[in-house]
């Protein structure tokens, strides 16, 4: 059952990821990216990270993608179709660089042993590890300083975004 779900999610994820990169219309890319994020949430559940799966859907599929959609909507993209002109030399080079990188990763991983990963359902302790209780304990005890720094980072991002998006008084 788990391997069936894995294969299904993998097919959908790879297809949508390719669509994100190849679609001309940014709105289509955004919607395919939402699909990718949902599939990732599925993988997280299969790996016993239920809380992170929920966060993935809320933060990525919910907040970040809505932000992208709003920007596409706010920018008046009537002449969007001709943004992408003919591919120039370095774009073709990029495709070859990507293929080369993929081959290197494949070659590396084909030599690595198939390390067995226990299905989550078999072990209640592993299942509990990804719950909000244990994540919260780790976050507020061992990782409380990074947590606070992340808060400061978000504040800086908010201030920066507002400062950048504000209309300049000319």
């Amino acid at each position: 059952m788990q391997s069936f779900m894995f294969i299904l999610l993998t097919i959908v994820t790879l297809f949508s990821a390719l669509m994100v990169v190849t679609r001309k219309n940014p709105v289509a890319s955004i919607l395919y990216l939402v699909l990718v994020f949902f599939c990732f949430a599925g993988f997280y559940v299969m790996l016993g990270a239920q809380f992170l799966a929920a966060i993935q859907i809320i933060v990525y599929a919910g907040a970040i993608m809505v932000l992208f959609l709003f920007v596409v909507m706010l920018l008046n993209l009537r002449d969007m179709d001709n943004v992408e002109g003919k591919p120039n030399a370095w774009q073709n080079l990029g495709i070859f660089a990507g293929i080369g990188m993929g081959l290197v990763i494949l070659a590396y991983l084909s030599g690595s042993p198939g390390m067995s990963i226990a299905p989550v359902g078999n072990n209640p302790e592993v299942y509990a590890m990804g719950s909000a209780k244990y994540l919260g304990k780790a976050l507020f005890m061992d990782f409380v300083l990074p947590f606070e720094i992340a808060g400061v980072l978000l504040l800086a991002a908010v201030v920066g975004a507002v400062a950048l998006a504000k209309k300049k008084r000319a």
Binding site: S3, Q91, I105, I117, V126, M129
Partner: protein, 102 residues
């Protein structure tokens, strides 16, 4: 049915990371470049969670938590910059964004 191992997850996230890299290198629409960066960040997250599950250690999940925070901040500021660029240059094509040249 075959057994799903750690290598399957690593391979999947490597492939998705590569798709993201190709997207950044080949596309010229700045919005789609940002989306490809998101793909790459997510594939790294998948690797972290797979190892976290494999090693039975919660630290990887905490890292994913912070990666998501940073990604949210990056998207917020990045899209604000995109809007400012579009307001000034009326284009999203990165080939036209060479105002810092010379």
């Amino acid at each position: 049915m075959m057994e799903i191992t750690l290598s399957h997850y690593l391979l999947l996230s490597a492939v998705i990371f590569t798709i993201g890299v190709v997207g950044v290198l080949t596309r010229r629409n700045i919005l789609i470049i940002m989306m490809s960066v998101e793909l790459m960040l997510n594939s790294a997250n998948l690797t972290l969670i797979a190892f976290s599950h494999y090693l039975q250690n919660i630290d990887g999940m905490i890292f994913v938590f912070f990666t998501m925070t940073v990604a949210a901040a990056e998207v917020g500021v990045g899209l604000a910059i995109v809007m400012t660029i579009f307001r000034n240059k009326e284009t999203l094509d990165v080939a036209n964004l060479n105002i810092l040249r010379n």
